[in-house]
Symmetry: C2
Subunit: 132 residues, 2 copies
């Protein structure tokens, strides 16, 4: 499969990817792609990201089982950002157990946590820090 | 106004911001914030970004008039990514005139442009490259 060229140079080999629930339209998370993660995502049909903290490719859900099946792939006007519309296995994208990584809303000067966790991270990750 | 602390260090002073239409849920664009753009966005209630190409703060719509009024602000689990839900003045966020910067969908190995431009960039920007 021929993979569309993206502009990874602006951020030194990575670029931001926005991940949206294909059904609800909820923005689930934002991560980073490098060339290898981009190719794996397209070829396998499941989201792969580049983990800055681990310095390696990471298949989303590789430990939790909460994988993301690719439904649609959109590329932005400058070829330097990608939008993935996904089916989120397990219903939650965030390593904290919430549906979305964006589960804190700014109300005035305070952050309000909205919703409740879908899973218990201690049970899913067994106390070990997950990839992200 | 006290502004929540974000982790700008991971990307050397900037972090990705995802912009979503508050009404339709469409993801309009992804840009970058630095500390100053973050403060301006919260204090003024209109989206401000950091332009990597221009090396300066940019009020979205400063030339086109297509400003983004902040409806909701969400912060991610690691304090290193922000989701803005906005009202998009003029109906289009992209400098090409399309509603969304993500107006090209990957179908197999081809990119399909979806939708039609809301405005003519030549008329809005007069042939000069817009901020982005």
């Amino acid at each position: 499969m021929k993979v569309p060229q993206l502009d990874f140079a602006k951020l030194g080999g990575i670029l931001p990817v926005v991940v949206q629930d294909a059904q609800s339209g909820e923005v689930l998370m934002q991560a980073f792609l490098n060339q290898e993660a981009w190719e794996l995502t397209l070829r396998e049909g499941f989201a792969h990201y580049y983990s800055r903290s681990k310095g390696r490719i990471w298949k989303k859900g590789e430990r939790s089982g909460h994988i993301q099946r690719i439904v649609e792939v959109w590329i932005d006007c400058d070829d330097d950002s990608v939008l993935l519309k996904v089916h989120q296995e397990g219903g939650a994208a965030c390593h904290t157990g919430y549906r979305s990584c964006y589960h804190r809303r700014l109300d005035g000067e305070r952050l309000t946590v909205v919703g409740t966790p879908v899973f218990d991270p201690a049970k899913v990750y067994g106390g070990e820090a997950p990839e992200r």
